[in-house]
């Protein structure tokens, strides 16, 4: 509960930032997108079509939310972008270069957290990072210790750096995975479900970290099943379902597509529902003292006046802004069938 109310100002802040970034991006429009796929398709050997003709464009400097229910092809897409899986057909370009051909040139500029962290349990948190850093041929070994310490500090793991990773909690492992993605300054961060296993405080920290990175100019590609998380931090989003891209664009435009709902709070719900139907409100639903419906295409002040004229005692009269979830339901015609 506290988390929800505290999230409200944050949300507004994110909106403002989003607005600013959209302006900045308009200037950069000539610049190449950070991720661009053309008809990207992956059919697994079993014949299962995991990703089907994906045309994804992630603008530079955006915080890009990648949404979709489990099994919709998000992870397969991310793996193709990271050069782990060869596409069946189509092309993927990351930072302007073709993948998977240019992995050695592209990936040093990309930090990634894919399908949760994977660690060497018998190594300490610090040694895990040292190992991942030495796997990168472009990483300077002379600055390794300092960069590892900085990454640990950034995710708040300095105190636990010497502990064996198998003794870490899920949240600590997640943080260590994030630290591995932050070992070097990156141009693109790919974060697959970064807040999994974190407590509300940890989730807030990750959100502020993402914003901080984005304000430094890093493009963040964030996959999540938590719609409100995407809404809070993302400037752009794409929605996938059953291997296909349903929509993509600035978050504001996506949720604008779905209309808000009119909510009337009243001790006379039955009467209110009748009047609202007369006034052209569609899909009227009565629940206790709340009557909700799709607002009509006329001035809502008149609707309210009609209610009052009919003797309905009105306690509250508002239009609830459409959430991304409403947009998602409107787009796919189905619920977002993952437990938040």
């Amino acid at each position: 509960m506290g988390e929800v109310s505290a999230g409200e100002p944050e949300r507004r802040e994110a909106r403002d930032e989003a607005g600013e970034r959209e302006l900045g991006e308009a200037r950069d429009e000539a610049g190449e997108p950070v991720i661009a796929t053309r008809a990207l398709t992956k059919r697994y050997r079993g014949g299962q079509l995991a990703v089907d003709g994906l045309d994804l464009t992630v603008p530079a400097g955006s915080v890009f939310g990648f949404l979709g229910p489990n099994g919709s092809g998000k992870t397969t897409t991310i793996r193709m972008l990271m050069g782990l899986i060869e596409p069946t057909s189509g092309t993927a370009r990351v930072l302007g270069q073709p993948m998977p051909r240019a992995t050695r040139a592209v990936l040093p500029h990309v930090g990634a957290l894919i399908e949760g962290p994977a660690l060497y349990g018998f190594l300490s948190g610090r040694d895990n990072l040292i190992r991942y850093d030495s796997a990168d041929p472009s990483a300077d070994p002379r600055t390794r210790r300092a960069r590892v310490a900085a990454a640990l500090d950034r995710v708040g793991l300095t105190a636990a750096a010497g502990k064996k990773a198998k003794a870490y909690s899920l949240g600590m492992k997640q943080r260590l995975g994030l630290a591995a993605a932050l070992l070097q300054p990156r141009r693109l961060l790919v974060l697959d479900e970064p807040t999994n296993g974190l407590d509300p405080q940890g989730m807030r920290e990750i959100r502020s970290l993402v914003r901080e990175l984005a304000s430094d100019g890093t493009t963040v590609f964030l996959s999540s099943h938590l719609l409100d998380e995407i809404e809070q931090v993302c400037t752009h989003a794409a929605v996938m379902a059953q291997g296909r891209l349903i929509t993509q664009g600035p978050v504001g435009e996506l949720s604008a597509g779905a209309r808000g709902r009119l909510v009337v709070t009243t001790p006379d719900p039955a009467e209110a529902a009748r009047v609202l139907k007369e006034q052209g409100v569609g899909d009227v639903v009565v629940a206790d003292d709340r009557v909700t419906g799709e607002p009509p295409d006329r001035d809502l002040a008149e609707v309210n006046a009609a209610l009052v004229t009919a003797g309905v005692r009105v306690r509250g009269f508002t239009v609830q802004r459409a959430s991304l979830e409403d947009a998602f339901v409107a787009l796919t015609g189905e619920g977002f069938d993952v437990a938040g």
Binding site: R79, G83, T103, I114, F122, S134, A135, P141
Partner: protein, 303 residues
Amino acid sequence: MSRAEPSAPQGRGELRDRPQTARARRTTFRATLLRNELLTTFRRWRTVALLAVLAAVPVLVGIAVKIETGDGSSADGGGGGPAFISQITNNGLFLVFTALAATLPFFLPMAVGVVAGDAIAGEANSGTLRYLLVAPAGRSRLLITKYATVVIFCLAATLVVAVSALTVGALLFPLGDLTTISGTQISFAEGLGRALLIALAVAASLIGVAALGLFVSTLTGSGIAAMATTVGLLITVQILDQIPQLHVLQPYFFSHYWLSFADLMREPVYWDDLAKNLGLQALYAAVFGSAAWARFTAKDITA
């Protein structure tokens, strides 16, 4: 303070001198993954346990021989047991040869099979493979690093057996000049040299198993499955090598010339089978190394 000061001018100089240091730096960077891989492998509890088992074999053999001959009788009455066992009581150095002959058919290749089988599959199993590749380690670079590490493990494992045997032999039995298989006498120093050569020959005998294990490791996402398959193949080949009807195939079994290392104890050394063994190991390394490379560089990493 004093630590920060020298590094600062160095940092500035480095910018100016970049063209000169570029080459040196690239080699440092290349070795860095191998060094880390070695550290990681030898810090694994399993690796340490395997080496401990290998180190224990000469201790057991040495103590058994000591007890058996404690009453002053010579051990050559039985006639069984690994090569050279009857000569241990006269010269502790022979324990090195005996221990290597005892561990080469099974313990050593099993240990190598475990480490090689786990090399790629173990990383895939724990999910760390995707992070190494995204780092990006580079698929060929990672595979070569893995193979180099397994080969170094072959050498380390053989040396652990040899050094443990030499220590036990020196503690329990007299040391001195020794008699070769051909009946000639060589000095203790030359004997030590031969022992080292034999250890190298034994380590080289394991190169084929290492390549085979690495190939199996690229086929599966389960470290246990890869280890079991490699060790299973090892046992199968050893059995097939005993079936006379298969004599046409036997020269191509990686274990066929393994015991040729004993020829290093002849005077003069009989090189024929030793050379055949090395050639065969190189062939296995080439064939299964290429197969592993072809498989690993084209594989979809879904783990």
